[in-house]
Amino acid sequence: MPLEVIRLDPQRAENAVNAYGDSLLRLCSVMLGNREDALDAVQETFLKYMTKSPAFNDSEHEKAWLLRVASNECKDMLRMRRHSSLLSLDDIRDREPGAESEDDAQVLALLCSLDEKYRAVIQLHYVEGYKINEIAEILGITQAAVKKRLQRGREALRSMMEKEAE
């Protein structure tokens, strides 16, 4: 059975890059720890969007699909490359200085030092604002696993913050 490929209007890709590009870049940056790899993952995600995306019910469905593909792309990259988890904050932010303080940047560094599976759920829940059932859909895991990872990720972050404060 030949595989069906749905080709999208290039204008739709432009709209998607403008609408969801930053969210995808944030997720990929947090998961991969550097901007160049994150941009590669985002590009792969949009290429899949151009060639394989199903019909979407609405823009939220479309965004969730893109986040899921991006998350899987990052996991593949983490597996296949002997990826350095070293984080360069300057490397993942845009070249223009942001308004965030050093204190804020420290929290981002701590997030990036967590295990990848905790990073993804914390990013999707606390930064992108997804609910537990939505994250379960996006990452293809159970709601129980999302809750467990959120709990452990929070505990790990709290523990690291306390150590940093000492």
Binding site: M1, P2, L3, E4, V5, R7, P10, A13, E14, V17, N18, G21, D22, L25, R26, S29, L39, V42, Q43, E44, F46, L47, K48, M50, K52, S53, P54, W65, R68, V69, E73, D76, R79, M80, R81, H83, I92, R93, D94, R95, E96, P97, G98, A99, E100, S101, D103, D104, A105, V107, L108, Y126, V127, I141, T142, A145, R154, L157, R158, M161
Partner: protein, 244 residues
């Protein structure tokens, strides 16, 4: 604690695509549709590359062992821990890869995986059937596992065939959603179809390791790409996996 997450949100204000990066992404979407299968091939290529690296390491390890004389076995063990087997450790969904998975191509000397991608894979839908901590411990103990990863997983965690089939359907649904394809019981025509393969539970639960290994051997594909297959004008003889 909430304060931490407010800081986390603020910290990411600077993570956004620049105008140039957006342009490059849009341009890539318009000009590189042929690259659509790149990531599907990437896994196989990466495994082959890792196998090649192992082969190169082995070329150096063997003379070192001989030179080390009575310390040869210790040196070899060290190489196994740090070099020869180290690529397993970076593949958290891929366990069990030491002895059976590579076969040397005599003409090139480059090692290739003996089995299809799924032989080394445990998708998340199956991992969810196990206790997370115990799964992590089990993965850490699997460097010397000698066989199909999911078979070892099923045995260790006592997964019933009914549970397995349910997880397999969830896995198939996720493939269908992610790739927009019909998942396959066995890839038939071109290598990218390996990406869409789901488990054959009748084979997995046959209890016959030889039969399992034979079933999951890499295939000789008649076509190198979906485009090449489509150009041939032939219909696929792949067996479709019914998700419902």
């Amino acid at each position: 604690m909430d304060d931490i997450f407010e800081k986390l949100q603020r910290s990411q204000d600077g993570i956004k695509l620049s105008g140039d990066e957006k342009e490059r992404l849009i341009s890539a979407c318009r000009t590189e549709p042929a690259r659509q299968k790149r990531s599907a091939r990437k896994r196989v290529i990466a495994i082959s590359a890792a196998a090649a690296a192992i082969a190169i390491t082995a070329l150096f390890a063997v003379p070192n062992m001989l030179l080390a004389g009575s310390k040869g076995s210790d040196s070899a063990s060290q190489e196994k821990g740090d070099g020869l087997y180290s690529y397993d450790e970076s593949l958290d969904r891929y366990v069990g890869s030491n002895n059976q998975e590579q076969a040397a191509d005599v003409s090139t000397g480059i090692l290739q995986p003996l089995y299809r991608t799924i032989y080394y894979s445990i998708p998340q839908q199956f991992i969810d059937l196990a206790d997370e901590d115990e799964y992590e411990r089990w993965c850490g103990s699997q460097n010397t596992y000698d066989g199909m990863a999911i078979v070892g997983f099923v045995k260790h965690f006592g997964i019933s065939k009914e549970e397995f089939d349910k997880a397999n359907r969830l896995y198939a649904a996720s493939l269908a959603e992610e790739y927009g394809v019909s998942p396959l019981l066995m890839p038939a025509d071109y290598p990218e179809q390996e990406e869409y393969e789901v488990f054959n539970s009748d084979i997995i639960y046959s209890g016959d390791d030889e039969r399992i290994s034979e079933y999951y051997l890499k295939k000789e594909y008649p076509y190198q790409s979906e485009a090449e297959f489509a150009a041939s004008g032939k219909d696929s003889d792949a067996v479709e996996f019914k998700t419902e």
